[in-house]
C-alpha cells in the first residue's frame, strides 16, 4: 500500500529530484539559462506523469486520489510553469540555480498539500512551501527593504506554522487520529461527546489563524503589503499564488471536509473573515501608490471572495446543484492565478536599468511609449486588471459569477438563514465595485497620461514576456469559454468527490488505520 501512495506522488518526487540536481550542480556549472530550462523540463515530466494518474479505487493512505487533488495539482503545475518562465530571466544577482531549485521545491510542496489527506503530510507540504520561500525572498534583491521583507515573512511564517500545528494537536486530541477521513467520521459520530466537538472548535480557530496567514486573510495579512513591496515582481507573483492555493486547499481538506459536522461555527468564522478581508483589502488598496503594495491588497481582497465560497460550502448541509461553494473557490483560484501571475510577469518585463517599476506613476503613458512591446504590455496589463475587477468577457467574471452565484444558491443554512448569504453576496458585489477603482487607476495611468519618461524595459525580458502573453491568452480564452470550466471545478468539489466510487471504496479502509498516524508522537 505505501507503494500506491508513492506512485501517486511521482510528479512531486520528480520535482524534488530536479531541485536537488539543480542545487548540487548549480554550484559548479555557471550557465544561468540552463537551470531554468531544467526546471521547465522537470515540470513537463511531472505533468506527463500526472497525465497518466488514474483515479482508480486503491487505498492511497495519506495521499488523496480524488478530483480535488488532481485539479489543484494541475493548477499548481501550470502556475509553477509560469513562475519558472518568469524566473528564466537571468537575474542580476547570482543564485539563479538556488532560486529555480527553491521554486521547484515550493511547487512540489503546493502539490503535496493539494494531495494530502492527512494532517502530518499536509503540514510537511506547507513547510515545503515555506522554507524555500525564505530562500527565494533573500535571493530576490539585495536591498534593505527586501532583507526586511524576508525577515518579516520568515518570523510570521514560523508563527503561523506553530499556530497551525497547535490547532492540529487539538484535532488529534479530539479524535485520536491524523487521517482526515477518520477525523471526519469520528467528529460526526461523536457529536454527542461534547469534549471532542469543543476541542475541534478550538482547533478550528487555530487552523483558520495558521492558514489565514497563507491565504492573506485579515487579520493575518499584515506581512503581505510590506513583503510584496520589498521583493521582486517574480517573488510577489509567487507569494500571491502558490501559498494561496495551498492555504485554500488545506482549508478545504481540514475545515470543509474533516470538520463538516461541528456545527455552525466554521461557516460563521469563514463568513466573518470574508467580509473583513475583502472590505479591508479593497478599501486600503485605494490609497496605494506602490504597484506591488496595491496588488498585495488586491490579493488580500481576493482571498475574501474565496472565503465566501468556503462559507457557502460550510453552511449548506446539502450540495448546491450548481455553483457549489468549493467548486466556486476552485474556479476562482484559477482565474485569480491567471490574472495575478499575468500582471506580475508583465510588470517584471518593465524597469529602468536594474531598477524595477515601483510606483504607478512610472507606468504613465506606457501604452503610447513607442515600440511594439511596451504598448502590448500595457494592453496585457489592462486585460489582467479588468479580469481582476471581474469584468466580462474576461476570466475574472466567471470567478465572480461562481462565487456570488453560490452565495445566492444557499437554501438551508446550519443554524442560520439564507439571508446572511444574500447579504454576503451584496457586500461582495459592492466590494467588486470598489476594487474597480484602483484597478482603473493603473489602467488610467498607462493609457490616459502622457508618457513622460516611460520605464525602459530591461535588455532581456526572457520568459516573462512569454508568460505575459500566455496569461493574457488564458484570461481572454477562459473568459470566452467561461462555463466550460465550471464542470472541471465542479467535479473537483468534495461533495462530488464523495459521491464518486473512488473514495467510497477507500472510506471503509480508513478504519485499518492511517499510515502515518501510528507513528505520530503524543
Amino acid at each position: 500500500m505505501p507503494g500506491d501512495a508513492f506512485r501517486l506522488l511521482v510528479p512531486e518526487i520528480i520535482l524534488v529530484a530536479a531541485a536537488v540536481l539543480i542545487y548540487v550542480f548549480g554550484a559548479f556549472v555557471n550557465a544561468r539559462a540552463l537551470w531554468g530550462w531544467t526546471a521547465l523540463a522537470a515540470l513537463a515530466a511531472a505533468a506527463f506523469v500526472l497525465l497518466g494518474t488514474s483515479l482508480s479505487p486503491v487505498d492511497t493512505g495519506p495521499v488523496a486520489a480524488d478530483h480535488l487533488a488532481l485539479y489543484t495539482r494541475w493548477l499548481t503545475l501550470a502556475a509553477g510553469a509560469v513562475l519558472t518562465l518568469i524566473a528564466l530571466r537571468p537575474l542580476e544577482t547570482t543564485g539563479q540555480p538556488e532560486y529555480v531549485g527553491s521554486l521547484l521545491l515550493a511547487i512540489a510542496g503546493t502539490m503535496l498539500v493539494s494531495a494530502a489527506d492527512e494532517l502530518v503530510l499536509l503540514f510537511l507540504g506547507l513547510e515545503l512551501i515555506s522554507i524555500p520561500t525564505y530562500i527565494m525572498l533573500y535571493l530576490g534583491r539585495r536591498e534593505a527593504t527586501s532583507q526586511e521583507a524576508a525577515a518579516k515573512y520568515f518570523f510570521l511564517s514560523i508563527l503561523s506554522s506553530a499556530m497551525l500545528l497547535y490547532g492540529f494537536s487539538f484535532l488529534y486530541g479530539a479524535t485520536g487520529t491524523t487521517d482526515l477521513d477518520t477525523v471526519r467520521q469520528r467528529l460526526a459520530d461523536g457529536q454527542d461527546s461534547t469534549t471532542a466537538v469543543y476541542l475541534a472548535r478550538v482547533a478550528l480557530v487555530f487552523v483558520f489563524a495558521g492558514l489565514g496567514f497563507r491565504i492573506t486573510a485579515v487579520p493575518f495579512h499584515f506581512y503581505a503589503p510590506d513583503v510584496y513591496q520589498g521583493t521582486t515582481h517574480a517573488n510577489a507573483g509567487f507569494l500571491s499564488v502558490l501559498p494561496k492555493i495551498a492555504g485554500v486547499l488545506a482549508l478545504v481538506r481540514i475545515v470543509a471536509i474533516a470538520m463538516e459536522d461541528i456545527g455552525p461555527y466554521p461557516w460563521r468564522v469563514a463568513a466573518a473573515l470574508a467580509v473583513v478581508t475583502m472590505t479591508l483589502g479593497n478599501v486600503v488598496a485605494l490609497w496605494q501608490n506602490n504597484i506591488r503594495r496595491l496588488l498585495a491588497y488586491s490579493s488580500i481582497a481576493h482571498a475574501g471572495y474565496m472565503l465566501i465560497g468556503l462559507a457557502v460550502y460550510l453552511a449548506s448541509p446539502t450540495a448546491n446543484r450548481f455553483f457549489d461553494g468549493v467548486a466556486a473557490v476552485l474556479l476562482y483560484l484559477l482565474v485569480y492565478a491567471v490574472a495575478t501571475l499575468g500582471a506580475f510577469s508583465a510588470l517584471s518585463c518593465l524597469g529602468r536599468g536594474d531598477r524595477q517599476v515601483d510606483s504607478i506613476d512610472e507606468l504613465a503613458g506606457l501604452a503610447w511609449s513607442g515600440g511594439a512591446v511596451r504598448p502590448a504590455l500595457a494592453w496585457a496589463l489592462a486585460i489582467f486588471m479588468f479580469s481582476l475587477a471581474g469584468l466580462p468577457p474576461l476570466a475574472g467574471f466567471w470567478g465572480k459569477l461562481a462565487i456570488f452565484g453560490s452565495a445566492l444558491m444557499v437554501r438551508t443554512v446550519r443554524d442560520g438563514i439564507p439571508l446572511w448569504f444574500w447579504m454576503l453576496a451584496v457586500i461582495g458585489v459592492l466590494n467588486a465595485a470598489v476594487s474597480a477603482a484602483y484597478y482603473l487607476r493603473v489602467i488610467g495611468a498607462m493609457f490616459f497620461r502622457p508618457s513622460s519618461d516611460a520605464p525602459a524595459r530591461p535588455a532581456e525580458m526572457g520568459g516573462a514576456l512569454v508568460a505575459t502573453v500566455l496569461c493574457a491568452i488564458l484570461a481572454v480564452g477562459i473568459g470566452l469559454s467561461g462555463w466550460n470550466w465550471f464542470p472541471l471545478a465542479d467535479r473537483a468539489s468534495p461533495r462530488q468527490v464523495r459521491a464518486t466510487p473512488v473514495t467510497a471504496a477507500t472510506a471503509p479502509m480508513a478504519d485499518v488505520g492511517p499510515l502515518v498516524a501510528a507513528e505520530v508522537p503524543r
Binding site: 459569477l401 452565484g405 458585489v429 467588486a432 465595485a433 474597480a436 488610467g444 467561461g482 462555463w483
Partner: protein, 598 residues
C-alpha cells in the same frame, strides 16, 4: 435571418481587426464596416413582420449543453422592444465614424477598433436573449467607452472616464446580483427545475410561479441600482454631464444615443415583466423620480454656459420622459416611452454631433462667445434648428409623437384609472411633466437663438488658434452625410409613427399585460382600504364591510381603455363593485383606437 442577425452583431469585431496601418485605410475600413452593419440591420428591420413577437431568433445551447438542468443559451433575437434600438445603434455607428473622421488624429487605429468593439457590445445588449449574454455585453460596453472617454476626451477626461466607469459598474454589479437572484428563485420554485438564464423562458415561467412580493421588492431595488444609474434617473445622474462633456464627439453621440437607453431597456425587459408586483408598488416612486429628472434636468440646462453641457442636461430631462412613459404602465405610455428612447437617440445624438462640428470649427463650446452663426454656417444652423425642434417635440417630427403618446399615457393613468391612494399625486406628476415640455422648448430655443441668430460674432478672434483659423467653413459633404439620415428618420417617425409603433406593439402589450394583474390587485387593495376607512368614518363599521370586501376582491378592476382590454381578461363588472370607472370616461382615448388598431 437568424444567421444574419449573428453576422450583424459580430461584424464590427471583424472590422476592428482591420484597424491597422495608415490612417486613411483605417477610417475607410471602419466606415465600410459600419455601413455594411447598417445595411444588414436595415434588412433585418425591414423584414421584421408586423405583429410578430420575436424575429430572427438564433438560439443554441451555450454552456452546459450536456446538462439538461442547466440552460444557458447563446441566444440572440429581436422583438418589438429591441428592434428599433438595435436599428438605432446600427444607424448611429456610421455617424460616429463620420464625425470622428478629422477630429481624431492620435492613436487612430486604437480609436476605431474600440469604437467598433463598442458597436458590437451595444448591438449585443439589445439582441441578447440570455441573462449571462446580456450582462456580458452590458458590461463589455463599459470597457471601450472608458478608453474612448479617457484617451480621446477633453481636459478632465481621466476623471470623467473613471467616474463614469465606477458609477455604472457599481450599479450594474448589483443589477447582476438581482438578475442571478431571479434565476435562482426560478430554479427553486418553477416546476421545471431548470437553472435557466433564458430571458423569454424566465418571463414565461415567472408568470406561473411569480416571485414572492417581498423578495420582488429587494430584487427590484437591486435591478434599479444599475438601470437607474444608466438611465440616469434624477439623483443618480451626476456622472452623466461630466462624461458627456469630456467624451469625444462620437463617445457623446453613442452615450446619449444608445448607452443611456440600456437603462430604460433594462427596466422594460427585466423589471416590469419579471417583477410585476414590485414594479406596480414602486410606480409612484419611479414616476416622482422621473418627473424630478424632467424638471431638474430642464432647469439646470437653462443655466448652462456650455452647449454640450446643456444638451447633456437635456438628456437627463428627456430620459425622465422615457421613464415616465414606461412607468405609466399602460400601452400608450409604454409605446410613447419606448418610441421616445429612439427619438432621443436620434435627435440628441445628432445634437451632440453638431456640437462636435461646431467645436471643430471654433474650439470652444461657450454659448456666450457665439452669435449669429447662422449667417456664417447656414447648413449647420439648419440642422441645429431641425434637431432642436425635433427634440422639443414639434408636431410633424419624432419628438412630438413620443412625448404626446407618453403624456397621454400618463394622463390616462392619472385621471382615468389611478389606484385610489395615488390619484392626486399622479395628477400632480402629469401636470409637472407637461411643464417640462415647456421648459424643454425654452432652453433649446434660447440656445439656438443666442448661438445662431442675432448679430454675428464668432469666437475665432482668440490668439491661440488664430494661426490655423481660416474663417470657419460650412458643413462638408461628409458631415451632411452623417446628419441627413438622422434627419430623414426623424421626419419619418414624425409623419408615419404607426410604421414603428406597429412593430413594437406586440412585445409591449405582453409587458403591459404582465404588470396589469399586479396593478389591478394593488388597486383593489387600495380601494378596499379606502372603502373601509370611509365606512369607519361614516360610523357604520363592519356591517357591509365583509360583503363588499369579498365582492371587490373577486372583481378585477375594470380596464378602462380598449387596448388595455385587449391584453387583459375583461369580466363583467358586478353592480356591487365599489369603485369603477365609467366607460364613458374612457371615451377620449379609445376614440383614436381605429387608427391604431392592427
Amino acid at each position: 435571418m437568424n444567421r444574419l442577425l449573428l453576422v450583424t452583431i459580430f461584424l464590427p469585431v471583424a472590422g476592428a481587426l482591420l484597424c491597422f496601418g495608415s490612417r486613411t485605410w483605417i477610417r475607410w475600413a471602419a466606415l465600410a464596416t459600419t455601413l455594411v452593419t447598417l445595411a444588414l440591420a436595415l434588412v433585418l428591420a425591414a423584414s421584421f413582420p408586423r405583429g410578430a413577437a420575436e424575429f430572427a431568433v438564433f438560439d443554441v445551447p451555450w454552456f452546459g449543453g450536456s446538462s439538461p438542468s442547466l440552460d444557458i443559451r447563446f441566444s440572440f433575437g429581436l422583438d418589438g422592444l429591441s428592434l428599433w434600438l438595435f436599428a438605432l445603434t446600427a444607424l448611429l455607428m456610421p455617424v460616429c465614424v463620420l464625425v470622428s473622421w478629422e477630429a481624431i488624429t492620435e492613436h487612430v487605429a486604437a480609436y476605431y477598433a474600440l469604437l467598433l468593439l463598442l458597436g458590437t457590445g451595444m448591438l449585443g445588449v439589445f439582441a441578447a436573449r440570455d441573462i449571462i449574454l446580456f450582462y456580458v455585453f452590458f458590461e463589455f460596453t463599459l470597457i471601450p467607452l472608458f478608453f474612448l472617454i479617457g484617451i480621446w476626451g477633453s481636459e478632465e477626461r481621466r476623471h470623467a472616464a473613471i467616474k463614469f466607469f465606477l458609477f455604472t459598474l457599481a450599479g450594474s454589479l448589483l443589477t447582476f446580483l438581482g438578475l442571478v437572484a431571479i434565476v435562482v428563485w426560478n430554479y427553486f420554485h418553477s416546476p421545471s427545475g431548470v437553472l435557466t438564464f433564458s430571458i423569454p423562458r424566465l418571463s414565461l415561467e415567472l408568470i406561473r410561479a411569480p416571485i414572492d412580493p417581498a423578495l420582488q421588492m429587494w430584487i427590484f431595488i437591486a435591478l434599479f441600482a444599475g438601470f437607474a444609474i444608466k438611465v440616469p434617473l434624477f439623483p443618480l445622474h451626476t456622472w452623466l454631464p461630466l462624461a458627456h462633456v469630456q467624451a469625444p464627439t462620437a463617445g457623446s453621440v453613442l452615450l446619449a444615443g444608445v448607452l443611456l437607453k440600456i437603462g430604460t431597456y433594462g427596466f422594460v425587459r427585466f423589471s416590469l415583466p419579471m417583477l410585476p408586483d414590485a414594479a406596480a408598488a414602486a410606480m409612484p416612486w419611479l414616476l416622482w423620480l422621473s418627473v424630478a429628472g424632467i424638471i431638474y434636468g430642464a432647469l439646470v440646462a437653462l443655466a448652462q454656459q456650455d452647449i454640450k453641457r446643456l444638451i447633456a442636461y437635456s438628456s437627463v430631462s428627456h430620459l425622465g420622459f422615457c421613464m415616465l412613459g414606461v412607468f405609466a404602465i399602460n400601452m400608450l405610455g409604454m409605446e410613447g416611452g419606448v418610441l421616445q428612447m429612439v427619438n432621443h437617440g436620434l435627435s440628441t445624438g445628432a445634437l451632440f454631433a453638431l456640437v462636435g462640428m461646431l467645436y471643430e470649427r471654433y474650439h470652444t463650446r461657450e454659448i456666450a462667445r457665439f452669435g449669429g452663426i447662422a449667417r456664417r454656417l447656414p447648413v449647420l444652423a439648419f440642422f441645429m434648428l431641425f434637431m432642436s425642434l425635433a427634440s422639443i417635440g414639434l408636431p410633424g417630427l419624432n419628438g412630438f409623437v413620443g412625448e404626446f403618446l407618453l403624456l397621454m399615457g400618463m394622463f390616462q393613468r392619472a385621471w382615468l384609472d389611478p389606484p385610489v391612494e395615488w390619484s392626486l399625486q399622479f395628477k400632480i406628476i402629469s401636470v409637472l411633466a407637461v411643464s417640462g415640455v415647456v421648459l424643454g422648448a425654452w432652453y433649446m430655443l434660447a440656445l439656438v437663438k443666442s448661438v445662431f441668430f442675432g448679430p454675428l460674432h464668432e469666437p475665432g478672434g482668440d490668439a491661440e488658434h488664430a494661426h490655423d483659423h481660416v474663417p470657419a467653413g460650412d458643413l462638408k459633404f461628409r458631415e451632411v452625410l452623417a446628419l441627413a439620415p438622422l434627419a430623414i428618420v426623424i421626419l419619418w417617425i414624425g409623419i408615419w409613427p404607426e410604421f414603428f409603433l406597429a412593430r413594437m406593439r406586440p412585445t409591449l402589450q405582453m409587458v403591459t399585460a404582465r404588470v396589469q394583474p399586479s396593478l389591478e390587485r394593488l388597486e383593489r387593495e387600495q380601494a378596499i382600504a379606502a372603502e373601509t376607512e370611509s365606512q369607519d368614518l361614516a360610523g357604520e363599521p363592519g356591517r357591509r364591510d365583509s360583503t363588499t370586501r369579498s365582492a371587490m376582491l373577486a372583481t378585477p378592476a375594470q380596464v378602462p381603455t380598449a387596448h388595455l382590454a385587449r391584453v387583459s381578461v375583461r369580466e363583467e363588472m358586478p353592480s356591487g363593485a365599489a369603485r369603477c370607472v365609467p366607460l364613458e370616461a374612457a371615451g377620449p382615448t379609445s376614440r383614436e383606437e381605429p387608427t391604431r388598431a392592427r
